[in-house]
Amino acid sequence: MKRTLLAVLCALAVTAAVAAEPTPQQNLSRYRLDNGLELYVYRDASLPLARVQIAFRAGAIAQSSGNAGVFRLYERTLFKGDVARPGAQDIRSAMADLGVETINGGTTAERVSYWFTLPSSKVDGGLALCARIGVNPSLDQAALDSARADCKAAVAAEADDPAAIYESAMTRRLFAKYPWRRDPAGSVKTLDSLDMNALYDLQRTWFVPGNAAIFVGGDVDPEAVRAAVDRSFGSWKAADDPWKKPLPPNPRPGVMRPTWIVYPDPSLPEGSAAIEARYRGPDLGIDPASSYGADLWSSLVSPSDGPFKTALMKNVSGLLGPDSISAYYVSQRDAGWISIGAYFAPDPAKSSVDRVRAFKERARGYEITTMKIDPTYFTSADYDAARERLIEKRSKATETVDGMIDELAFWWSTASVDYFIGYPDALAKTGAREVSAFLETYIMRNLEVVALRMNPADFEREQKSFEGSGFEIVRSDNAFWWQH
């Protein structure tokens, strides 16, 4: 009788501690434990499976120049040791019992995540396994050494990867003050400087319940999941909010003056070149309101037969077709950006410098200026169709459990789940005025990095022209922030 009473009291206490918060998103339940841990449960009974994920608001965004690469090193050390070590019999047995072949892990600029899929009937055990790897896991020196070697090899591989070289060159200029906050890989020098103490400091500071969220999706009962999360994570001690002191923002404009770069890119075939103008965009951590206008603008300019691409095709010679033109905003908490680009065919008879300038001037100087001040540039039907495309894209992205959990985890770390849930309503209220305001702030009163990529053979033919026109030449030995 006493035990029954105690059990009832405990159950009541748990229920009171983690009562569900309603969400307008269909089939999504939200809870918050006393220790600050958030829980999102998405029910979709299409398949007899469940996905369990833990995410932390961390990654490159939380690095300094002195410890860049530390979050990825932490993840690799964890998976080299506790999860994958042959001696880790309890983990191996748990995975076998749960049908889990692989525990996935990922460290990006703004998030660290671990996740796996298992039969939905075993989700209770899955949450216990998730706690085993997410809550203060043990680390060991041998795993750190092995992980460090892997991470250094990855840094070396980036220096041979044209895409990484190009992105790093862009990032180094557009986010010049804190480029390491966009670089989860870090440098060989910083990786060499990190020891076990650095990893445990990281664990104590960033891998804490108030900076984490659990996402569970599939054929699951939200209340049962809530109870299981409380069993596995309820004793996780609360800690200080690592984001209490806000990050100093990345400056906007990202550059002091329009900056021109050229990269001899061996991944592009001869006879094909790419132009891109990139701007600092709205950061969701600072100016989420502008992101709706930014998204709507991205959708407005996307149709191949729309006014933007049609005008560029008509007025800029040599572009490889409307589908080769792109213009979009990328959502990030700390470092949003906007890209306007196109592909063209280099012509020995025409200067590529002139073509890059012509493209940039037409896109920004004429088309975007016009769409900002001329209310007839896009029709009301264009706006409706653009909103529909965005909502349709969102529906597609969240159609499956994996898709929904991916989206929830992304938006939880990048903005908030409320932002994600409220997006359709906010978008419905966004129109020409918001798009115009976005363009005024983030394009017209902003400065860009303009980049040209072309095959090294094409580049060589025009190298002198680039050098004489103020283009900085990107190479593998000057592209990365840690080389300067």
């Binding site: 009974a45 499976l49 076998a96 692989t102 990328v330 159609e399």
Partner: protein
Amino acid sequence: MRGIPSAAGMGSVALLCSILSACAGAPSVPPSAAAPAAVEAPKTPKPGPSAPAPATPPLRPMAPKAVPAKPAPPAASSPSSKEGRAGQQSPYLRDILASYTHLALPNGSEVYLLKRQGREVALRIALSEYATAQSATEAGLEALALDLATKGSDDMEAGAVARALCAASARLDLALDGSYGPAIELSCPRDSLYPLLDVLGQSLASPAFRRDDFETCLMNLRVEERREHSDRALRASAELGAALYGRASLARWPVGSADTLAKIRLEDVERYWKTEFGGDRIRMSLVGDVDPDELAKRLSPAAGRGIGSLPRQAAPAQPSTPPPSTVTGALLIRAVPGSTGWTVLRGEFGLPPTATPDYAALSLGLTMLDELLGRELRAAVGGDETRRVSISGEVYGVGSIEIAGGGDPAAAMDAVQWSLRSLAAGRCVGLRSPGGDLESFAEGIADYRARSVVEYYSGRGSSAELATLILREALRGADPMAFFRVADQIAAAKPEDVLRVVKERIAGASLSWVALGDPALLSGLEARARQAAVQ
């Protein structure tokens, strides 16, 4: 806009294991005089056979099953319902079966609906009797006809269907996944389903067959054919299929070949449509937020020129059965010019019907084989990262083992044979064992059940994928909801079931093999085959 992609997965052994059965016979559909549509909802689950299925040679035809046209009692009220040998349905299966509705339209069309609250709609239309309707010399014709027939009716303006789709933020695609012939796939917001169904119905009823649409569709098909031709795995499968079936229809991919596509004229499409198409050939699956009663009303002949009012074909094609295999236990070796540094080794075997306990037992056996192969291939080819193993079956009711990469195919074949022998001896890799030690099926089966369920269902939850799976089973004459029953049947499978089915289906000489690619890499395997032939 969401921009930066989420994290890359942690490195893992890239072994996939699943069995995906497909068309091995079309449903025999009893004519229905009921009007409007006969609604069967929810469908009573079919009990699995209690006796083991007889051993079946690879690619042996399966007897067509009738799709019941009469309404069936709800699953919950059927005391005789059972899954596998456990005799109980899981809550998952009970719930999903309660969301399923089967409509038999008066004109012979069959509609399979899985209601998913809040989801957009995926609709898939294919024609039954694909395998016999299209002759070997006209491969690609049915795909072209189906594609062209949805471009608009003769009383619509050119481009009207495309405009309707665009206005509804919908997509209409020709699907050529090889499972059971070509299909039309519509993805749309739920609110636009019925207007689009009307447009599609009108188009199918009297297609305009415009020449410019024909040229566009033919060009798209040619591009797709080129893409498939350059896909090594698809090519290996096609080579094996051609060898097994000769000129019979199932040897061909729905996309056709460069030769057959070059000969097809617009007049051929019109003739094919006239002689082969009818409402009674329509098979349609829908997954999404669709009300079954409303759907039945909208599809009834009284609703107008919709799919429900399409006339029957005057002389419907006979239900198809695949031809028996002409090669069993064979190894075909094909050198491919320009294939320096790569080979594909592919073995195929016959699958039991999806809704049977034997299918679940084989699925478990293949998960075990996957682990054994992974272990042996790592030893045989070292850390060759480009090597990939997959066990899957996409075409006409076969499963397959496929090993692609740059290593020695003879060594890969040795690894396969060792793995198959271990399996036939009732041994599997212990999933808890740090060193990958072997253990008996009885010791390992509980862990493999969970692993097998995850591997079977992972990545298949989209409405389009579910619509494909439902339609696939319907077209082969099986229970359209068979895919959803497999988890319960895996849970009920016993070690002795797995051993028996493994011996029947994949051990010994039950597999037919093809190896293609770099002649230099194939030389060892070829010499060995020659030697075996001499002996």
